[in-house]
């Protein structure tokens, strides 16, 4: 038993962190002088594909690197830290689904030549045997060829054109492109239900890992600022009112990180406990992301309310990921209904 990364796993973390530091620094998300905010991350996919990151956890016979959910999870913590476009989730999960039923699609996704958007329900979803109907939000789907749908009951891959009645919306998280659309008895290219295999659990786990990285980055930003910002003649981090807020952020991030690691090891074994532990991870990690995002703004004071520092980005992204496949209320209702895992 060991819940710390191995040397090889740490090398993967360092590689991804190094790549993102060079290619996706948080400053890229500062608005230009017109306040216009595009999405700068589409250019990342081919580069990440070159490094093998997009197919990291896909089995080798499916065209991926064949690493486990543990390594995949570690990379997602880094994606969260850098606030990489959550379109990446569509690519990873879409590649896993397609690798079984549509290898050419999987190859295109892992090669970075085609993007995968995300779909998440706006209300009730009707679903039987791989056919889905309902109203959805599409995230980062504008130039995508495929769309990955996550509901609390299933995970499914579609062609983008399967979604109709599209209308663009501005997102609260303004770096993410958003639209409304619907499916009418849309047939998935590949799908699986929450009760079979680990596809659905993997989605919750990777969302949890992303949320963990986000919570850690929000903490780091708040701590850095509390060390240098002075009031009453000393750094504000010396005041318990601020210090204890930072401590609470550190606790939340640690709780999330531990459960995410634990769940990743369980999932890597294809264990039946994967659903339980991934849900637990999602609940504590999204909680940490929401709390740390909000607290980070308060620690910054007025500057935290502006678009000139990164603090606001964390809370907005946290709200967005909360809703992917069902928000905390939905996840908790699922979790309290699940059988105990002791």
């Amino acid at each position: 038993m060991n819940l710390l990364p191995t040397e090889e796993q740490q090398q993967i973390v360092d590689m991804v962190r190094g790549f993102l530091a060079g290619n996706a620094p948080l400053e890229r998300l500062r608005p230009d002088k017109f306040g216009q905010i595009g999405n700068p991350d589409a250019a990342l996919w081919p580069k990440m594909a070159e490094l093998g990151i997009l197919g990291l956890g896909v089995p080798e016979d499916g065209g991926g690197l064949g690493l486990s959910a543990v390594e995949e999870t570690l990379t997602y913590i880094e994606f969260g830290r850098a606030l990489v476009s959550i379109g990446v989730l569509g690519a990873t999960l879409g590649a896993h689904l397609a690798a079984r039923d549509a290898p050419d699609v999987a190859a295109a996704i892992m090669g970075g030549s085609t993007a995968v958007g995300l779909a998440t329900p706006r209300g009730a979803v009707e679903h039987s045997d791989g056919r889905f109907s309902g109203e959805f939000h599409l995230i980062e789907a504008d130039e995508a060829e495929f769309v990955l749908l996550l509901t609390s009951e299933a995970i499914a891959l579609f062609r983008n054109e399967d979604f109709t009645d599209r209308s663009a919306r501005l997102s609260m998280d303004s770096h993410m492109r958003l639209m409304r659309a619907r499916l009418d008895d849309g047939k998935a290219l590949g799908w699986s239900s929450v009760t079979e295999g680990v596809d659905h659990a993997r989605a919750n786990l990777l969302i949890a890992a992303y949320a963990t990285g986000l919570a850690e980055a929000a903490l780091a930003g708040a701590v850095d600022y509390a060390k240098v910002r002075e009031q009453f003649g000393k750094p504000i981090g010396s005041f318990q009112a601020i210090k204890h807020k930072c401590a609470d952020m550190a606790i939340a991030a640690e709780v999330a990180s531990c459960q995410v690691s634990f769940a990743s090891v369980i999932l890597a074994k294809d264990s039946e406990e994967s659903r339980f532990h991934a849900l637990a991870a999602r609940i504590v990690a999204v909680d940490a992301a929401l709390k740390n995002g909000a607290t980070g703004i308060q620690v910054h004071g007025a500057i935290g309310f502006t678009a000139e520092v990164e603090a606001h980005l964390f809370v907005k992204r946290a709200h967005l990921i909360d809703f992917i496949g069902g928000d905390q209320r939905v996840q908790k209702a699922q979790f309290i209904g699940a059988d105990a895992v002791m």
């Binding site: 038993m1 060991n2 819940l3 710390l4 990364p5 191995t6 796993q9 543990v70 701590v223 509390a226 060390k227 000393k234 750094p235 981090g237 010396s238 318990q240 601020i242 210090k243 204890h244 930072c246 401590a247 609470d248 550190a250 606790i251 640690e254 709780v255 999330a256 531990c258 459960q259 690691s261 634990f262 769940a263 990743s264 090891v265 369980i266 074994k269 339980f276 532990h277 849900l279 637990a280 991870a281 609940i283 504590v284 909680d287 209320r329 996840q331 908790k332 209702a333 699922q334 979790f335 309290i336 209904g337 105990a340 895992v341 002791m342």
Partner: protein, 384 residues
């Protein structure tokens, strides 16, 4: 990362399970008094005789010299088997013994460690004072060196089970002129020494059990050979104990709480119905608690993984601060599930007294506020 156990680990687990099934006491643990002392020491003796008392203790002190992973396996099986919460043993096994192992003389080790492990003696703690709680380093209980003895005068407070203990780990000020953290000594005090008087303090679970005491020392003479570590180096000696308490010593309690939450889930399902629970406020909160207590187990595993490399440091405060408040929220929700009858205090009550007891969790062994100072300053590097 892995959660794999070796064949040898699994064998150890099977043996532990078998022994616990056969030996965990089935009678109810007396809540206080000599009956509780007999129960706890008797249970410790039984574990010792079975070879389970000191799983990760070094062989030279009577333990089995096994890894922290083995200790964790033992705790998991102990919790599953419903092993008793033998609180009287905590200070001896988890405080005094690790401190004596780390800093004690050969004589201190060979006298005290076997007696603690075999359940012959109970220990209590003498750290807090009426005017020094969180500011422990400012303690004033005075010990003058006279010949080869210390002469102690002063008072200690919040001493759990002082009236049932044979020994005390006592912090005294041996150099009042030195800076406050430099003039303290860590002393082994025999509770039968003339000059020691106790005053019981009722706690908030009253009416009920005698738990706390104030301890008064009037010209209490203790041999200098009972000082652990160097005279005036007691602060550092004490800190090694606290690091331990904030790290690995809490593992059993962490694991035990998973079962408490599952009992609450069962109770809530019975009272509210499984499907109603999903969208009820209680169900939502209980799901949050279930997720968090699941994460506590993961935190425990990570602490054990780190402890295999280095002794627990300040980062242990993360788990400690989190868990103490989580325990309070877990015990609190029991009242909401029980409903109006929760204002009753039955004799065989499994929920209300434990709920009231959790108010001490964020105070004892360093308040939540002190834990947050430690996290802020020593983990995050914020200025003092």
């Amino acid at each position: 990362m892995n959660l794999d156990y070796t064949a040898e680990d699994e064998l150890f687990r099977a043996e532990a399970r078998e022994w616990l099934d056969a030996n965990v006491p089935r009678e109810v643990r007396p809540p206080d008094g000599p009956g509780m002392r007999d129960f706890d020491l008797g249970w410790q003796r039984k574990q010792f005789e079975g070879g389970w008392a000191g799983v990760s203790w070094p062989v030279e002190y009577g333990g089995r010299g096994l890894s922290l992973t083995h200790q964790l396996i033992w705790y998991e099986e102990y919790a599953k088997a419903g092993g008793p919460n033998a609180e009287l043993l905590f200070v001896g096994c988890n405080h005094a013994a690790p401190t004596i192992m780390a800093r004690g003389s050969d004589e201190q080790k060979s006298y005290h460690l076997p007696r603690i492990l075999s359940g012959e003696v109970a220990w209590c703690q003498g750290f807090s004072e009426p005017n020094n709680g969180s500011d422990l380093g400012g303690l004033k209980c005075r010990a003058e060196i006279v010949g080869d003895e210390l002469v102690v005068n002063g008072s200690k407070i919040w001493t759990s089970s002082a009236h049932l203990a044979d020994w005390q780990e006592l912090l005294v000020r041996t150099d009042p002129a030195a800076p406050k953290h430099k003039g303290i000594s860590w002393v082994i005090c025999d509770m039968q020494t003339p000059g020691i008087e106790l005053r019981p303090i009722l706690i908030m679970t009253a009416p009920g059990h005698h738990h706390f005491n104030q301890v008064f020392y009037t010209d209490v003479r203790i041999s200098l050979s009972n000082v652990v570590g160097e005279v005036n180096d007691g602060w550092k000696v004490a800190m090694s104990t606290l690091g331990f308490e904030r790290g690995t010593a809490g593992m059993l309690e962490n694991i035990r709480y998973g079962a408490v939450v599952e009992r609450l889930v069962d109770m809530a399902r019975q009272r509210l119905g499984t499907s109603a629970l999903e969208n009820d406020d209680i169900g939502q909160r209980l799901a949050q608690l279930r997720a968090e207590v699941t994460a506590v187990r993961a935190m425990t595993y990570r602490i054990a993984s780190r402890a295999a490399i280095a002794p627990p440091g300040s980062e242990a405060s993360l788990a400690r601060a989190f868990f103490s408040q989580l325990q309070q929220r877990i015990r609190r929700i029991a009242l909401d599930i029980i409903g109006p009858d929760s204002i009753e205090l039955p004799d065989d009550d499994p929920w209300i007294r434990p709920y009231l007891r959790t108010y001490s969790n964020t105070i004892a062994a360093g308040t939540s506020e002190i834990q947050r100072n430690i996290i802020g300053e020593r983990v995050l590097g914020l200025p003092r």
